[in-house]
Amino acid sequence: MLRRIKNPLILLLIFISCAPPKYQVVNDSTYYDTNDARNPRKTVLLSIKQFTDSEDLINLIKKRDWLTIEKRLREQNRPALFIKSIRHLIEKKYAESYKLLNALPEDAYACQVLLLKIDCLYELKSDTTSFRNQYQKVYDCTPDPKVKSIVKDHYRFVKYGL
């Protein structure tokens, strides 16, 4: 019996592990090129103002080279919590990501900390909050027009139940 289901099970595991992540990371210059309607993904902005090396970081995130990222941030003595929480989001570890985000001020990174916390609650199927009101709060909190647009997109995932 086990032999019969072994191969399909392996194939299924490969399929699941190859499923594209729900998140993509962009910076100010790549923000406009990454909206693909066929493969909708939630966007996180690494603003050039806060991450001068955002392009390198994004490339490393795409390669899932988390060790290099952590090493680089540690060497430069830069805060790593936000990037670590993004790592957990990409790996679909929402509870871990929420814990890290909780340690940051909600309005940090143009209020994206609050945005990602709401995303985590949504993914964790928390029904104690009105998601629309929460996303509205982030929209009003952020001064960055790109993040405002990102907030609207994230709310659409809730609407579409994706």
Binding site: R38, Y135, Q136, V151, R156, Y160, G161
Partner: protein
């Protein structure tokens, strides 16, 4: 023995695929409305300071378009099946008109709430539901509203004794949404503003890159509700701007009289 199992599996697959080909309009409607969608949207207007002392009572919104109260409608426009032994192909085009069944909220109550929220955000006045706190009353009637869009199904099944291949895909949209509001602002029972706000919105197109038929049908319904709610948003913003304009004039008049 193995041959027997294989032929049974093949028969079940053929049956499933053929059932897919012959999906009734009722089954499609059920698929579209299985997951009701919320009309709620993110407000993107700027917060305004309340520069006038006025409070406007937003009355219960009336829905005059009776067509929309129903459950919605799926109509088959055209369909064709090629039922050969080794090849079965099918195509079907439907038209879906959204009804209350695909929407989470009651439309009248939603517009009233959205109107109050938008007024308190971008209005230069306060908005409330209580008549006693204000001598201004805003009445809104939904004259007409609707969303409809095409839904396409296509597929084939090739059966070559030991080998079989099949494919099916579904695509929805683009849908066209519209709504027209008639609004009147009354001061102590006398109409001081009487106008219409109308808008149109196109929805997105959905195709089979979504993981399953169930998801794409639900997403099609959501895209229609989303387009409709955006027409509401535009109309509500128009009304708030118009009321702002009137109340500003009213305030100026009062100031010159004093």
């Amino acid at each position: 023995m193995a041959y027997n199992i294989f032929s049974r599996i093949a028969f079940i697959i053929i049956l499933i695929v053929l059932c897919n080909a012959c999906a009734s309009t009722e089954a499609l409607h059920k698929g579209f409305t299985k997951r009701k969608t919320s009309l709620k949207y993110i407000n993107d207007t700027k917060w305004q300071e309340k520069t006038t002392p006025y409070t406007v009572c937003v009355d219960k919104v009336l829905l005059n378009d009776g067509k929309f109260r129903g459950p919605g409608l799926v109509r088959k426009i055209k369909s064709s099946v090629i039922p050969l032994i080794i090849y079965t192909g099918w195509k079907a085009d439907h038209d879906y008109r959204l009804g209350q069944d695909g929407i989470k909220e009651d439309i009248g109550a939603f517009i009233q709430c959205a109107m109050i929220e938008e007024s308190n955000r971008s209005g230069i006045f306060k908005a409330d539901t209580l008549q006693s706190v204000s001598n201004f009353k805003l009445e809104i009637e939904v004259e007409s509203l609707g969303v409809s869009g095409p839904y396409h199904q296509e597929g084939f099944f090739v059966f070559l004794y030991l080998v079989y291949v099949w494919s099916f895909q579904e695509a929805g949209g683009q849908s066209q949404a519209y709504s027209k509001f008639h609004y009147t602002l009354k001061k102590d029972g006398i109409t001081v503003l009487d106008a219409y706000a109308k808008s149109e919105q196109q929805s997105e197109r959905f195709h089979t890159t979504y993981p399953s038929k169930k998801i794409i049908r639900s997403a099609f319904n959501t895209s229609m509700v989303e387009a409709l709610s955006l027409t509401f948003k535009k109309n509500i913003e128009t009304i708030v701007k118009d009321v702002n304009r009137y109340l500003l004039l009213q305030q100026k008049e009062q100031m010159t009289q004093n």
